[in-house]
């Protein structure tokens, strides 16, 4: 039972001051084993805060990040799953499923986490999953001002991952759940 937090596009301090209070009260250290961050934090203080939540932190560079040494993409293996992270502004058209799956095949991962659109989406494609955790602070994106704060928590257990989606809608936290089972055949995904 490995808990992985996926979030990004906080844009602190440029577009938002802080995470919503309700999110902050839920995110306590000790529960989460890994954090995946798609980028655009944008400053070091946010990096330090995430470090407190969990020492195992994986970040990729977003276009507004002040730290220039984050990588463009990152892959890691947790349990039976291979995860890939990328901010997403490099993938054009932004948020396009086919282009993202090209990136997924390139990185050869089961779960690809990208951001940049500030909208939560979760797609299943050819045995892999593409997740966009949205913006954890609800900052406006390059495309739209209408953004709900959201982030994603994945519970990886063997060949099964349960994705919990946390969204702040009208001041209340709504939690949804998505189940995904990896079939053994997907390790050799067809091109």
């Amino acid at each position: 039972m490995v808990l992985v937090l996926a979030l990004g596009d906080l844009h602190i301090p440029h577009r938002a001051a802080d995470l919503p209070a309700k999110f902050k009260s839920m995110l306590v250290p000790g529960k989460i084993q890994h954090i995946i961050c798609t980028g655009n934090l944008s400053i070091k203080e946010v990096h330090d805060y995430l470090r407190i939540l969990c020492p195992d932190l994986h970040i990729t560079r977003g276009e507004y990040d002040e730290e220039i040494r984050y990588p463009e993409t990152k892959t890691l293996t947790i349990g039976q799953f291979k995860l890939g992270v990328c901010h997403g502004h490099q993938v054009i058209p932004w948020g396009d499923l086919d282009s993202l799956t090209m990136l997924q095949r390139q990185l050869d991962v089961d779960i690809l986490v990208t951001g940049h659109t500030h909208q939560f989406t979760a797609y299943k494609h050819e045995g892999g999953v593409v997740i966009n955790p949205g913006s954890a602070t609800g900052a406006y994106s390059s495309i739209t001002y209408d953004v709900n704060p959201s982030f994603v928590l994945m519970d990886i257990d063997g060949l099964r991952v349960v994705v919990y989606v946390y969204e702040l809608i009208d001041g209340d936290v709504k939690v949804d759940k998505i189940d995904f089972k990896k079939t053994a055949a997907t390790t050799h995904s067809a091109h």
Binding site: G30, K31, A122, H125, D157, V162, Y164, V175, D176, K177
Partner: protein, 471 residues
Amino acid sequence: MLKGKLKLPDKARRVFPDRLGSLVAGFNDDKDEEIGGYDSVFECGEELEIIHSNGFGSGRASDDVGGGDDDCDKVEEKKKMVDSGLEKWARQKPEKDGVGLVSVKEILAADEKRSDLEYELSQKEINLEKLQRIASTGLPNGGGLRATAWKLLLGYLPPSRDLWEKELIENRQKYAKLKEELLLSPTELTKIKTKVSKSDDQGADGDIDGPLRRHEISQDDHPLSLGKASLWHEYFQHTEIAEQIDRDLQRTHPDMKFFSGDSSFSRKHREAMRNVLLLFAKLNPAICYVQGMNEVLAPIYYVFSTDTDEQNAANAEADSFACFVRLLSDSVDHFCQQLDNSSVGILATLSRLAELLKANDEELWRHLEFTSKVEPQFYAFRWITLLLTQEFNFQSIMRIWDSLLSNPFGVQDMLLRVCCAMLLCIKSRLLNGDFVANLKLLQHYPDIGIEHLLQVARDLSPDTSSYRLSL
């Protein structure tokens, strides 16, 4: 006829045959009390005769005593071996540890006891008093006898044999259910729940590409939930305890392959013990888990899982849980900090130990209390709360626990006696020591003969000033 034999050691010591006198000179009690007495050494001639006649006895369903003829041959051989053994013995230096040297005489005595025990345990209605008496002289290692005896003595198994099957199955099922309720991680629980409720949805998601379906869930069902009713919240609250338990288990008996090391064998055992301790902690939030409970569980679990009966060994976890709870129920107040100063707390027990020592050996008591100022808190705390598991090697612990569990007045009573006996056995060293030396000695208790220790414990006069009817 053979029951009388158990009293023989005392008789024999006074009346041992002359020709053996010189040979066993080394074992005399004129050396100071630290040498373990070999009770079985002395009854050479007499004992063999009894076995001889018993070999032809009838009606005893005893596994290791074969047919009458075989037994006769065995005894003849042993007689020859004993004579030559005695020669060798005269030249050997006496061993300090009572359990070390395996002599032929001891083998004979042990066989006797084993068949006695098996007889008792094969009865339809077990006579608990008789069992207690046999057990207090020590139970045989190996085989399932100790496991069964301990289960009976702790009250886990009822005295009437017919009910055993039912009791065991019931208790094991109860344990499995408890485990399911309290120990499963929330992921596993939700897995079970979803398997039950929606299997069609899963199938659909599995095949079609495209946006994944979101299912709404309640506020308590997610890992970050802070609600009191949430399974996840409860789970995380217990991770700290679980971590401490894990740490302690890693340190349990590092010299024994059964508990330590990285083999899957020892990992399985640590996992089982972890479950037992975690379950205990969850069911008793007032005491929770206290460091040291792993040491109390270790002998119980070891004995039960080395049971030669396969069924019992497989269910060692469930059985050890029940017996662990029973064993701790006496001393559970010792672990509760709030009760420290009350009449049932650890300080009260420690003062009872001091009183017992005073009643039996005022000189030593005075020396410890006033001259060297070594108070029971400094050394006996660990003795009492951990039931002496940290003071002796593993074999000795099992022997001592045989006596503890078989005391008709309860474990605590015998425990205090053994602690007092421990003090008496090293009396001369204590009287010569100051605070530092005595404390060092008591905190690293020296190796002494266990049988002798237990004999002293049995012979102590009880402290009647604070006598209370236990049980």
